[in-house]
Symmetry: C2
Subunit: 468 residues, 2 copies
């Protein structure tokens, strides 16, 4: 593609994206009739031997790809979690690709590191996070990860390093280490622990209360039992907003236990932490002042396109101890003097692109007010929906719903609820996902798309009522 | 940002990127005078309270960010490794951001998974990789990872799972497992092993020969010694093109030892494997037919913008055994029937974007011929450079240079070589990195940028001659 072709194709693609987003509502949210393999079968089995025009590719996006997409930006997308994408962040992603620089070390493109550090400090301030997470604090700092899964793994590795006094790097011995979370924690906690050599035999699922939140008394009992058995409790993951139901663990009480026993406290607020941008929801941060690490995802509820997980730690020495390795071909004077941050030592991968532009563009061009308004509106709609559900005796609400997720079910039981979800999704006019809470199948009604208005929530609810 | 503003800002950004890439040669390759903290200091310490125009942000990219970039697309960028970015792949990244879909499971956007699977099969064919890596083979398959570091970690985890018959997921017991590679392997091998609970005490650095390649006789000796000591050898990483010097381990001989002892063979060809697109360089694949897993990076030498690492395994059951976890909120009928691939179980993170568009756009709009021509030309220039260096008695070549990297040094010694690198980089007219081979400091002259022509290589060499 020549530079002039790039210009023209680029304009065309910008138009195509604008039309897609502004017209996304016309698509079915998902294509539930699609059979596995159908999209692949519509494409050539073997690589092309002649080149094609960009117009042809754009046309295939419309005709072949579109019928195979689940539209996460659709206003009636009530499934999984919010994953909205602002126009500013889409442009930033384009700029990132166009610059094509690597930010693995400060020296490999200093601005890539420095803008990122500044964005993490800006976000610390906007979210009202503890000062000890700031990069200009004595022991803390933040970084952008690709996903909360990677952030969680980094937290586990830092905790593992600290608990073993660094010996794990040499011995690989994790045989005494015990970790604690709940059945409601995100699957990435189990995955991260498993990767780090903490098998399920040494993962404790702390019992939960009626709100699906961790019981600190049970945590304390389990930690003491493990200590008495000669094991080494080392890590607790406290969820601030679980994926299943937005349950909030009592993090302050958990933090006390962690402090008493020297456990690493990681707080996972991947889905809900961004709510702290809104002053009246800042309670989502409760207990964070005692956390060793924390993550939340602007690529969920802040309109920053995937991938953008913010990870902070109050103990960067442990993180660097766990993850830094310095071969000759990556040495630099700036890093060795301590003056510069090398973010490769803060993450699993080595390479990294200039992702902080997404925050920089969005905070400057849009500011934070549109996100605050959006979050407030999503929460208002969720509470309104709860009122509607409560007025229909066929349905019940299964869990607290302090923010933008409502877990509802049919009193008729699991089978009826599962069937309702399937039939609703088959219409293509809305999309819901399912979870199980306390043995009960539930429909998760997650309200988080940028384009969602009251009429979409009302239509989604009317659909459920009409199908039952 | 309104849709109309997005259109206009998007056109402006497309123009800005075209001008940047076409004019990148006018910039110093890097700004070696830049002090850590200078870029941050030029930006507001606190988040903005008013919104700004996109033009202002673009202007800041020019005035504040540009002086802080190391320009990886510059034709005189001879540092690290190639990281070139085609116009087609930049547009694909824009499309990915604009669609904003998640591909963690087949059901979360089927086309995202199916195009990716097809692209891996296309690339298997174009690279001439073993059939058993194909997704339509009985036990294999491929996936896009963000980086070779993640691919390596996935390989280690699959190997760990297979070696322990899956028990590691429960017990976390890695205490007997031993891994083998060389001092020349990429730092991500040590990092991945460390993460997986294989401390350096159980990482064997197999001695290397005069070409910096692994010695199979030494590997065999070490494996037998570990077996005799009651340990469990489980994993070998063989490099096809090391980062320091493009050394090629004798993978076929290594594979034999792996087969005899049931070790997982991972082949890391992150930097050089893409050379197999060119028929006369297909020898880079030697030994791959016995590998359990393999990775190479289109985001290095194929012009696909970061991030795009291709990872294949011949044993997907082990990979899934290591990495799959299925919470209720991610269940789907398509996945449970086995008809659909859920790529979340092939990688460390859960979330994933529609990265295969980068391959799809580029292979269709540009085809493979421009990449083949580019690779051939880079290799030709490297061999030409080698002739020039050999004709200057002040310099010597330290390692074989079968592809696009030449490691050279001053006969005057390490200090003189290090000083030459620093002084050359300080000019801003080219950028080199340093490595150490057999105790000797070397300048790595890596020829891999899309825009690099003979005149740039000649100028880089003239610079080195003039400074000495």
């Amino acid at each position: 593609m020549t530079p002039e072709e790039f210009r023209n194709n680029g304009y065309a693609l910008i138009d195509w994206i604008t039309d897609y987003i502004e017209g996304v509502e016309q698509f079915p949210v998902s294509n539930s009739a699609l059979q596995p393999g159908a999209i692949r079968a519509a494409l050539p089995a073997r690589p092309p031997t002649t080149i094609e025009s960009f117009d042809t590719v754009l046309r295939d996006l419309d005709t072949v790809i579109m019928p195979g997409l689940t539209h996460w930006q659709h206003p009636s997308f009530f499934a999984y979690f919010p994953s909205n994408s602002s126009y500013s962040s889409i442009l930033a992603e384009l700029a990132t690709a166009g610059l094509g620089v690597q930010g693995m070390s400060w020296i490999t493109s200093p601005a890539c590191t420095e803008v990122e550090t500044l964005m993490l400090d800006w976000m610390q301030e906007l979210l009202g996070l503890p000062e000890r997470f700031r990069s200009d604090s004595p022991t803390g700092g933040g970084v952008i990860h690709g996903s909360a899964s990677e952030a969680t793994l980094a937290a586990i590795l830092a905790a593992r390093w600290r608990a073993t006094g660094g010996a794990v790097n040499s011995t690989g011995d994790t045989s005494k280490l015990v970790a604690y979370t709940t059945t409601q924690a995100h699957s990435s906690i189990e995955k991260g622990l498993r990767i780090a050599g903490i098998g399920v035999d040494r993962m404790r699922m702390v019992p939960i209360d009626a709100t699906f939140a961790m019981r600190p008394d049970e945590l304390q009992r389990m930690v003491e039992a493990d200590l008495a058995a000669g094991l080494s409790p080392f890590f607790v993951c406290s969820s601030r907003g679980t994926t299943s139901s937005t349950a909030f663990d009592p993090t302050p009480a958990i933090a006390e236990i962690c402090q008493t026993h020297g456990l690493w406290l990681h707080v996972d607020a991947a889905m809900s932490g961004i709510a702290a941008l809104v002053p009246e929801f800042r309670w989502v941060n409760d207990g964070l002042e005692f956390a060793d690490s924390y993550c939340t995802n602007p690529h969920k509820w802040m309109g920053i396109n995937f991938d953008c997980d913010l990870f902070w730690t109050a103990d960067r020495a442990a993180l660097l101890g766990a993850l830094s390795i310095l071969p000759e071909y990556l040495r630099s004077q700036a890093a060795e003097s301590g003056a510069a941050l090398d973010y490769r030592d803060w993450q699993i991968p080595l390479g990294r692109r200039f992702r902080s532009l997404k925050l920089w563009f969005t905070l400057r061009c849009d500011g934070i007010e549109p996100v605050r308004e959006m979050i407030r509106e999503h929460v208002r709609l969720t509470q309104l929906l709860a009122d509607w559900v409560q007025a229909d005796s066929r349905f019940e609400i299964i869990a607290p719903h302090p923010l933008n997720l409502l877990c509802i079910r049919l009193r008729a039981g699991n089978e009826a609820t599962d069937s309702l979800i399937d039939r609703a999704n088959a219409t293509g006019s809305a999309l819901f996902t399912r979870t199980v809470l306390d043995g009960k199948s539930c429909l998760r009604f997650s309200i988080g798309a940028r384009l969602t208005e009251q009429r979409h929530v009302a239509a989604g609810w009317a659909l459920l009522q009409s199908l039952e």
